[in-house]
């Protein structure tokens, strides 16, 4: 490339690079590219909010328009991260507000967001457009009111599956009458009723509204009112899908759906009354994404509805679909990319539905594009896993949750090592894997040998010894996130692979056998890792070095240890270690 290649043209070339990975590669090419790239980077993704400080980000990228931040580790979804652990977004908002007056987008996942943060967002940015809060907590509807009232050009407000303190439904009325810019609104996680009149008026005056996900409190009878005012909708989340069986309600609903010619995605369906499902038949053939994970409908209504959607690409459904339903799905939905089957009654030891490994095998056979699976079931066999692996070598995400921990192959009573081994061996593009059932160190050997593109691995109640962990850490070249619970992994594999941890985003280990001593050593040896120990029972009184930690969260960082930890979280560095040894000395151990 000649010296004379103009910078602004190079910037223009970079603008066509959509992936962060490419932008990052570009910035490492040479000095001039590094400079050009950093000045024109507009979107930043920060996978761990504690890996870097806002000061560093701001210094490097002076003109950012969109920021995405993630806070708590994934296992927070399973209540393994105690309350108060961290993930506070407020300090970030303060910095961003100061540095980027033209910031338009903030997307947060698993972070603690306060009303203060929301208010600051609403008042700091001149052209604020997008707020996405996925699995966040800490705010109330008052915070939402600030956003509604102050963000004149708001395009997207998505509350994901956040925990919102619902003070009142009036916040929605804070959208000014001249707000017509909404494109996407997702309030499905809210409990209380929003003012329907306000909602109706809002929907009516936003001609570009493409996504509308209502909360449960919006009654089915009123849905047509909204649909008629927004026939351009592409994604709809209904409220409670139940009403008394009345023909006029049905016909209104059917007519309203008939008018929605662009509809591609459906969700919601709380308390579904099957009799009302046929009202949507007119849109079924265009539907590509269907989320029935709250729909307690059973077969034959359920399978009949799903089979209507011949162009389905993504299906989330409860296990009421059963094996028969999945077989029908395999026959009618040849475009299926992603299937998630959730348990309707996970705490019951006995199966309440007839959903077994057969359903998944059927879908893997019948749907050639299937690449993403999350499947809860009560029994599995090596044979089934081998079949799935052979059918679908294009699998990218495979998450299997056999409800009973350590459940063996139900036919042979052997561990499921062979089955998962077949998955990693055949599915060469596999990026994400969650395992369950009875598993020995052998499965980790397979994983270390074959899963070269694996980026995220979740393990629970598996393995026999440190050997297992060692295979994973030493073999999985692309590993970014590793989360482990209740496995007999101790210090050896962890310490032997300490440098590996710097190449990953994070490691989570809870209820394993990692000792305080090992954590301390790891923290001392690896200054670019934060080795955080979560011990709700406090530091051990006697012989702390060999005591196992409750939970360990290790992540790479250039921001040093964090300063916002609660009392039961420690960063293991020299300080803690000297405190630990002082404790030992005093007790005379």
């Amino acid at each position: 490339m000649a010296q004379s290649f103009p910078e602004d043209v190079l910037e223009h070339v970079f603008s066509f690079l959509n992936y962060d990975k490419d932008r990052n590669a570009v910035s490492l090419v040479c000095k001039s590219w590094y400079e050009i790239e950093r000045l024109c980077r507009r979107r930043i993704f920060i996978g761990n909010c504690y890996a870097v400080s806002s000061e560093i980000v701001i210094r490097r990228f002076p003109d950012v328009r969109a920021v995405e931040l993630k806070g708590k580790p994934h296992f927070a979804d399973f209540n393994l991260v105690p309350e108060g652990w961290g993930g506070y977004v407020y300090p970030w908002i303060v910095s961003l507000a100061r540095a980027y007056p033209w910031l338009e987008e903030i997307k947060l996942k698993r972070m603690v967001v306060t009303d203060e943060s929301l208010e600051l967002i609403s008042k700091s940015f001149k052209n604020y457009k997008v707020l996405v809060l996925l699995s966040c907590e800490g705010f109330t509807t008052d915070g939402l009111a600030s956003i509604a009232a102050n963000c004149r050009n708001l395009r997207e407000l998505d509350l994901g599956e956040s925990e919102v303190e619902d003070l009142s439904g009036h916040w929605l009325s804070h959208f000014p009458d001249n707000c017509t810019s909404l494109v996407s609104l997702n309030i499905s996680c809210l409990g209380s009723e929003v003012s329907f009149c306000a909602l109706e008026r809002l929907v009516a005056r936003c001609p570009n509204l493409k996504t509308l996900r209502l909360n449960r409190a919006v009654p089915l009878e009123k849905l047509p009112n909204l649909l008629c005012r927004a026939p351009q909708l592409v994604e709809l989340g209904t409220g409670a899908y139940s009403a008394e069986i009345q023909s006029d309600i049905f016909s209104n609903l059917a007519e309203a759906f008939l008018g929605c010619k662009q509809l591609k995605g459906l969700s919601g369906f709380w308390d579904v009354v099957p009799a009302y499902l046929p009202a949507m038949y007119s849109v079924c053939s265009r539907i590509t994404s269907l989320n029935l994970s709250y729909a307690t409908a059973q077969n034959p209504d359920l399978v009949h509805f799903v089979s209507q959607c011949s162009n389905l690409q993504r299906l989330w459904v409860l296990d009421y679909i059963e094996d028969t339903g999945l077989e029908a799905l395999a026959a009618s939905c040849k475009d299926l990319h992603e299937l998630r089957v959730f348990p309707s009654d996970p705490f019951d030891a006995e199966a309440n539905v007839s959903l077994t490994e057969q359903g998944l095998v059927a879908v893997s056979e019948g749907c050639p594009k299937l690449q993403s699976v999350l499947y809860f079931c009560r029994q599995m066999s090596n044979a089934a896993l081998v079949a799935i692996a052979r059918n679908r070598p294009n699998m990218i995400r495979f998450r299997l949750c056999i409800i009973e921990p350590r459940a063996p192959d139900y036919l042979t009573l052997e561990p499921l090592d062979t089955g998962f081994g077949a998955i990693v061996e055949n599915c060469k593009e596999l990026r994400r894997l969650s395992m369950s059932g009875l598993l020995t160190d052998r499965v980790f050997e397979y994983i270390g040998t074959h899963a070269k593109k694996l980026e995220m691995l979740s393990i629970a109640f598996a393995g026999d010894s440190d050997s297992g962990l060692h295979h994973v850490l030493s073999g999985c070249e692309s590993l970014r996130k590793l989360e482990i619970r209740d496995c007999p992994f101790g210090d050896k594999a962890l310490l032997a692979n300490a440098t590996k941890l710097e190449t990953m985003r994070s490691l989570w280990m809870s209820s394993c056998s990692v000792s305080f001593g090992a954590c301390k050593l790891l923290g001392q040896k690896m200054p670019r890792l934060n080795v955080e120990v979560i011990n709700e029972r406090g530091l051990p009184d006697s012989r702390p070095e060999s005591c196992p930690v409750e939970k360990l969260y290790v992540y790479r960082t250039i921001a040093g240890p964090r300063v916002d930890m609660p009392g039961f979280v420690w960063t293991m560095d020299e300080h803690v270690s000297s405190r630990l040894s002082r404790v030992t000395e005093r007790r005379g151990d």
Partner: protein
């Protein structure tokens, strides 16, 4: 002339625009083709140039004869109104099948002529050539220099002296270092001898500093955090907070450690190097303007800072020797990290910094300062 049967039918007169490229060559181009380029169009309309050979429009330097030829081919095709979108797309796809060098030249030339659609087309093609490649591969493709040095990658961490608090702490750190060193010198004759002359250049020292800076940055950060910790813990666990006791303990501990440090270290030069490193890093000579710092702070903040700094200094005494040990051993460990970076198995000769840094994945890199520039490989 009469219009009888023998009248000559004149061929339709086409207008031509005369263009001159930097290599001196002049050519005439059909008007409707040339005018497709906004730059040429502008020149013709505003200055009236291009009507004859003597008044040929001088094109920008980036547009050589070969590139002009290509661009005119593009214009010639697209200025015809009747073509379908599909036709145009097929033409475009074929058109950009050029080698990298030509594609770059073409992009640059198209930009010079302000021909936006062609700039977009070629830019997208270049972006496709970049997608999915590693920095090394991109460098090879575009013949770019590998001029991001280790120092530069690490250097920006040194710039974290903007915060007056940190500069103040650095200053104090430097003073404490000096005091500690003086104490050592009195206690340990061997060490004193090694101190005498360091004949390496400043550059060598600076490059070693950069190798060590990140660790000390980590140290600084963790010390700050420790400071907060201590305050939080005071009400909780007062038995551990006997300040005087700590102070005495740590003093003894520290001198003991230094003593063992110098004995255990592999080579004498390393000892002196690290000690010099310490003094050079934190020496006021490195450009901290002491006068400036105090002027910037308001009195209340200064008071608070003084308190924090004192606290910090106390901690320094207890922690520094351990930190030294770590720096030394960490440096050695880094050398042991295996060298292969690329999957192709080729053995790259890199410094250990690059190796370590190269193992970082993309996300870390996004966030990093230029130090972490290299972390994204």
């Amino acid at each position: 002339m009469s219009e009888g049967p023998m009248a000559v039918v004149k061929p339709q007169m086409k207008s031509f625009i005369w263009l001159q490229t930097t290599d001196g060559s002049i050519q005439q181009v059909e008007e409707d083709v040339a005018m497709f380029c906004p730059m040429i169009c502008q020149e013709v309309l505003q200055t009236g140039m291009g009507s004859s050979k003597n008044y040929a429009i001088s094109l920008p330097q980036r547009v050589n004869a070969a590139m002009l030829g290509l661009i005119l081919d593009y214009c010639r095709f697209h200025q015809v109104p009747g073509r379908s979108n599909k036709e145009r797309k097929i033409f475009d796809e074929k058109f950009v099948r050029l080698d990298t060098k030509k594609l770059c030249e073409l992009t640059s030339a198209a930009d010079g002529l302000q021909l936006r659609p062609l700039v977009d087309l070629t830019s997208r093609a270049l972006a496709r050539m970049i997608e999915g490649k590693t920095p090394e591969e991109i460098r090879e493709t575009f013949h770019l220099p590998d001029d991001l040095t280790e120092e530069e990658k690490l250097e920006p961490l040194r710039n974290i002296t903007d915060d007056p608090r940190i500069r103040l702490l650095n200053r104090l750190y430097a003073r404490k270092r000096k005091e500690l060193k003086e104490k050592q010198n009195l206690k340990n004759i061997e060490v004193e001898e090694e101190q005498h002359v360091d004949e390496r250049s400043v550059d060598d020292l600076l490059s070693f500093i950069n190798g060590g800076i990140e660790d000390s940055k980590g140290a600084r950060a963790s010390k700050n955090k420790r400071k907060n910790r201590r305050r939080k813990e005071q009400p909780r666990n007062s038995s551990l907070n006997n300040e005087n006791g700590d102070h005495k303990e740590s003093n003894n501990f520290s001198s003991g450690c230094i003593h063992s440090d110098s004995n255990n270290v592999a080579s004498p030069s390393k000892t002196s190097m690290s000690k010099d490193m310490a003094s050079v890093i934190f020496s006021p000579k490195l450009g901290f303007n002491e006068g400036d710092i105090d002027d910037e702070l308001d009195p209340a903040m200064k008071e608070q800072l003084d308190r924090e700094v004192e606290d910090f200094a106390r901690r320094l005494n207890s922690v520094w020797p351990e930190r030294m040990q770590e720096l030394l051993s960490f440096g050695q460990e880094r050398r042991l990290v295996p060298v292969t970076i690329n999957g192709n198995g080729s053995f790259k000769r890199c410094t250990e910094d690059k190796i370590l840094l190269s193992r970082f994945g993309q996300e870390m890199m996004v966030m990093s300062s230029s130090c972490l520039v290299s972390l994204s490989v």
